[in-house]
């Protein structure tokens, strides 16, 4: 396992080094680490807890409908608090968990995710053909489930150093105050904080009522959406807060690897070893067990792509294809995937 992760990370590192930072396309296409092998063994979707023909009216959601908490089924109302507990208990050992799940390469995935999104507004040409006013405003980025500010930090760094954009602003939002506190700590006294380019919002991704409609350029959610009770509702909120032309982008673990042999090995690792390590490292087996199971419960890439479309987004790539052609990008044999959607004008 160690050698596999080592080899993969070396690939990643190479492609990172040889790619001009401002050219997204070559990094987004790099075959060495994006594999788009088709997956034929998609399991049947988990039983839906709502009748899809009867979308609940806002405010009238059947809040006690049973939902999944890992593999145990619990009432919806309880899920948010159970999830909050999980993240409260892993907040400090959180990086360890991500390292275990991603075989140590989640940092490179995050780098790749941000580089391809290319946040920030670049000056055009030496004369700066762009009107000054656009440049003045920068972009508004909303990092949902932003926890410790890992993604936000990369967004701001990319906008500033690559695109020479000193205005772009990130709001880090999370349901869990303890995770947000980690983020606050990270940015305390930083240049970004002094320049007012980062702020924090405690909110459930399914209800972003304090954020005006059509106000956000880029909505990101990294390793967060699998924890949401009503993913469709979160997608609708994303659609609402984004400006027309705005981008939804999600980085998430996938339930099944594209190669069934590797999938079996990876499952053994994640279900067998990770909760055990969680117990040893963090003294908390249950939280790690939950995290592993929540990945298994997450829809496959094709299904999730359809949910994004369902919310109204234009998905890059063609209808019905797999991998990049089908509107997503698999990372490292499909342990994780990037999904994007653009709100039509």
């Amino acid at each position: 396992m160690a050698s596999l992760s080592l080899r993969t990370s070396r690939h990643l590192a190479t492609s990172t080094r040889t790619t001009a930072p401002w050219i997204c396309q070559s990094c987004c296409q790099s075959r060495t680490f994006a594999s788009s092998v088709s997956r034929n063994q998609q399991p049947p979707p988990p039983p839906s807890h709502q009748d899809p023909t009867q979308p609940p009216l806002p405010g009238t959601r059947q809040d006690d409908a049973p939902t999944h908490f890992g593999f145990s089924t619990i009432p919806s109302t309880l899920k948010a608090s159970r999830v909050a507990n999980v993240f409260s208990s892993v907040a400090s050992s959180y990086d360890t968990m991500n390292d275990l799940m991603s075989l140590g390469i989640h940092r490179l995935w995050k780098d790749h995710f941000v580089r391809c999104l290319n946040p920030g507004i670049r000056p055009t040409g030496p004369a700066g053909l762009r009107s000054e006013s656009t440049k003045e405003e920068g972009q508004r980025i909303l990092d949902i489930a932003g926890g410790t500010g890992d993604i936000a930090q990369r967004m701001l760094d990319h906008a500033t150093t690559v695109n020479k954009d000193m205005k772009t602003h990130v709001t880090i939002s999370d349901i869990n105050p303890e995770m947000l506190a980690e983020g606050r700590k990270r940015f305390a006294g930083s240049d970004y904080q002094l320049a007012g380019r980062v702020d924090f919002l405690e909110a459930n991704a399914e209800n972003l009522s304090t954020i005006p409609s059509n106000s956000i350029d880029l909505y990101t959610v990294a390793f967060g959406i699998r924890n949401f009770t009503h993913k469709d509702q979160a997608l609708r909120e994303a659609f609402r807060v984004l400006k027309p032309g705005g981008v939804f982008a999600c980085l998430e673990f996938t339930p099944h690897l594209s190669n069934s042999v590797l999938d079996g090995l990876y499952k053994r690792w994640s279900f067998g070893a990770i909760p055990l390590i969680g117990q040893v490292v963090a003294g908390d087996r249950d939280s790690y067990q939950y995290l592993v199971e929540s990945i298994e419960r997450f829809p496959g890439q094709g299904e999730f792509r359809d949910m994004i479309k369902e919310a109204g987004f234009l998905v890059p790539g063609q209808e019905g294809g797999e991998g990049e052609k089908g509107g997503w990008e698999d990372l490292s044999l499909g342990i994780a995937a990037v999904h994007k959607g653009v709100k039509p004008v």
Binding site: I23, T124, G125, G246, K340
Partner: protein, 250 residues
């Protein structure tokens, strides 16, 4: 042409072009097949065509793509709709000019032979590079197309262009010579297009003469198609070196 000749042609073809020849034959190969699928969605079409208008000044770059998005009422960030970035921009030019060829071309009289029609079609397609103002930037496009991950799609598109030309020229026969015809036309077109990017002569007369020499070669030597292809492959390699020497990162 016998199948052994076809096989020999295949084996002599530079490895990078072989893929093109190996595509499964279809019962009919004209472009109405390609056109049936909706090629681009509305948003993609408006952004990419606006972006192409910025290519003469900004080149085949992320800048052009972003400016195109803004012109179409989208945002800087909206270029995320194009997973292959600048290659999507190049490909849009290729696809739209291939599909537009049938409207650009008019044969003066019915007695035009297939050979002369093909010559006119190639010249017309090359003229589209001039008319859209991208010819001065086309070396950048070739550089992007020659990146390993873009080669298969670029060759597929080149093959589709050759199919379209044979179809418009009225040669719809699908027989053993199909591979050879497709390959020779692809090879000649690719070579002429590369030549065009370096042509300084008035109204691209040199390119026209270059094309005539290649077509003559094909007519007289016939089976020496592989020679032409080898030449095209060599040129592509030379092209990459030329661009590298100019500081283009490929």
């Amino acid at each position: 042409m016998s199948s052994t000749t076809a096989l020999r042609t295949l084996l002599r073809t530079p490895a990078s072009l072989r893929l093109l020849l190996l595509q499964t034959p279809r019962s009919t190969y004209h472009s109405y097949d390609h056109a049936e699928q909706p090629v681009y969605r509305e948003a993609e079409r408006t952004i990419l065509s606006s972006a192409l208008a910025h290519v003469p000044i900004h080149g085949f770059t992320q800048e052009a793509l972003t400016l195109g998005a803004k012109d179409a009422g989208y945002l800087d960030i909206s270029s995320n709709l194009f997973p292959k970035g600048t290659f999507d921009l190049v490909k849009y030019h290729l696809v739209s000019q291939r599909l537009g060829l049938k409207d650009r071309i008019q044969f003066p009289d019915e007695n035009f032979g297939v050979g002369r029609k093909v010559r006119n079609l190639i010249l017309e397609r090359l003229r589209a590079n001039v008319d859209t103002g991208i010819v001065t930037r086309w070396q950048e496009a070739l550089a992007i197309m020659s990146l390993a991950e873009n080669i298969p799609a670029s060759l597929r598109e080149l093959g589709a262009l050759a199919d379209e030309m044979w179809f418009l020229a009225g040669d719809t026969a699908v027989d053993a010579s199909w591979y050879t015809k497709r390959a020779s036309l692809s090879g000649i077109y690719a070579a002429a297009e590369i030549y065009q990017t370096t042509d300084q002569s008035t109204e691209y007369r040199d390119t026209e003469q270059f094309l005539d020499r290649r077509l003559e070669e094909l007519r007289t030597v016939g089976g020496a198609v592989s020679g032409t292809l080898g030449w095209a492959g060599f040129q592509a390699g030379a092209m990459v070196n030329l661009l590298r020497s100019k500081g283009v990162m490929i």
